[in-house]
């Protein structure tokens, strides 16, 4: 009997909540249990109404944004889609065929494109038909340069162009992430080229590049879609990392150049033992990410 009423009540609840039957229909269907069912069905009706409460739309939307930012942050922290840096990619030996092919490609680009097209392409943005031309010309110019110091400056100029393009994009443009990735790649390439031969001129070039672009990147971060923000933040971190590395190298170079130590370059040298491992590597970037995370970090000891 007890079991029966559990079942009957449950069926009535299902029917009422899904609007298949009314409470009256249920009572008519189970006349013999009317006295027992009636007060319970009235309670169910009241609870059904009370259960329709909805959260405040604005609060819900804000909470959603915060969650998605946290997901982006977590995505980056765990490094699931972290791109291998240029230094990590095994270098292929450039065969004479590859060199020939490159030269041919560069010549082809310059021959095919008239000066006018190149000039028009200079102002193009991602999505425009001339944009690939702009990138091809830029790459070709860099490839033709042999001096590493000049090369690193050209990579910085390329990064500068990408940042300018980002600043010109509309709010909902899907190219933010792509451009941020390009900036990151150019910075990595500049870093690699400057490691071989950095001079004071490059240092001042880098300083002015950072000064000029830090605020531009901050503004871009505000208007970019949520999905692209972590990539832009990452680019900013890379930039800071690069800057501190160059400064650190300068300090090391000065120390090495102290009397009795002979003439040594400022880059590519092992630091004194106590400084080893303190460079702007993984650990530093982790700290920066933690700092970005703010006070909303969660305890790992709780939950199901």
């Amino acid at each position: 009997m007890k079991r029966d009423i559990d079942e009957i009540l449950d069926r009535c609840i299902e029917d009422i909540l899904s609007d298949r039957r009314t409470a009256e229909d249920c009572l008519l269907l189970h006349r013999d249990m009317r006295s027992e069912l009636e007060p319970m069905l009235s309670t169910i009706l009241r609870m059904g109404k009370a259960g329709q409460i909805m959260p405040d739309k604005r609060n819900k939307e804000r909470a959603r944004e915060r969650l998605l930012l946290a997901v982006e942050q977590k995505h980056w922290e765990t490094g699931i889609d972290r791109l291998p840096s240029i230094n990590e990619i095994p270098r292929r030996k450039a065969s004479w065929r590859l060199v020939l092919l490159r030269v041919a490609a560069v010549t082809f680009v310059f021959v095919i494109l008239s000066g006018a097209t190149i000039a028009m392409a200079e102002e193009s943005l991602p999505g425009s038909p001339l944009y690939p031309v702009k990138l091809a010309v830029e790459k070709a110019r860099i490839m033709l340069v042999r001096d590493n110091s000049k090369k690193s400056k050209m990579y910085l100029n390329a990064a500068d162009s990408r940042i300018k393009e980002m600043a010109k994009l509309k709010k909902d443009d899907h190219n933010y992430s792509r451009l941020a990735n390009e900036v990151e790649k150019d910075i990595e390439a500049a870093k690699k080229a400057s490691a071989k031969n950095a001079d004071k001129e490059f240092e001042s070039h880098l300083n002015s590049f950072i000064k000029k672009n830090q605020n531009v990147l901050k503004d871009t971060l505000k208007k970019a879609p949520i999905g692209a923000r972590s990539k832009i933040k990452r680019t900013m971190e890379k930039l800071n990392e690069f800057n501190s590395q160059v400064k650190e190298n300068k300090v090391r170079g000065n120390k090495i150049k102290s009397p009795g130590s002979g003439v040594q370059g400022i880059n590519g040298r092992r630091p004194p033992s106590k400084d080893r491992g303190r460079g702007p590597g993984k650990n530093n970037s982790k700290l920066k990410i933690k700092a970005l995370k703010g006070p909303q970090s969660l305890s790992n000891n709780e939950g199901p």
Binding site: E7, A63, H75
Partner: protein, 189 residues
């Protein structure tokens, strides 16, 4: 079946911290979790906060989630239940001014007076629910506020479906007594 397959795919993507997948899980479950928390706490603001915290904690723990016959919704509601327990333990809860809450939240198309009356009615029900046993509260909150099926509730609280139905019956019976509602009064309300 298709829904379950889709959900599995979404959760797999969410395990790789995919923003879109998390956004979809949020859209699917936020309202339900909010209503569940509201039923247990009786304050909109706190319930919204608990619902948000549930997703943030789910983000921290999603890598540990495994399909072992427990639906994802049950896993989420367990997080919410733990947060509610923490909330009561922390003693940070306080009496909320119902009229103030009702006035602040009237984007449901009702006038402030109507919202206040509805809020009072909800408050009365929530107060009655809080006098039930913890298990009965869980069943009522999951069935009537979160809209879960008996099977989902059973898995979330670790009981069989028969036990859930029995708990539901006893809980509704007790609530009827507490609320002292007459059927006709509720019918024309």
């Amino acid at each position: 079946m298709d829904d379950e397959l889709n959900l599995r795919e979404i959760i797999e993507r969410a395990r790789n911290y995919d923003t879109e997948a998390f956004g979809r899980l949020y859209n699917l479950y936020f309202d339900k979790i909010f209503r569940f928390a509201y039923c247990k706490i009786g304050s909109r603001h706190e319930a919204e906060d608990i619902a948000e915290q549930t997703f943030l904690r789910a983000l921290e723990k999603i890598a540990e989630f495994k399909w072992r016959g427990v639906p994802f919704s049950s896993w989420l509601f367990r997080i919410t239940s733990n947060l509610i327990v923490d909330y009561y333990r922390s003693n940070k809860y306080e009496t909320v001014d119902i009229a103030e809450e009702a006035i602040v939240n009237h984007d449901d198309g009702c006038s402030p007076e109507q919202s206040a009356v509805q809020e009072l009615e909800r408050r009365e029900i929530v107060k009655a629910i809080r006098s039930l046993t913890w298990e009965q509260q869980q069943v009522i909150a999951m069935r009537f506020f979160a809209g879960m099926t008996n099977e989902e509730v059973a898995k979330a609280i670790g009981k069989n479906v028969g036990a859930v139905k029995a708990l539901q019956h006893r809980a509704v019976e007790s609530l009827g007594r507490i609320l002292g509602a007459s059927y006709s009064e509720a019918r024309y309300r």
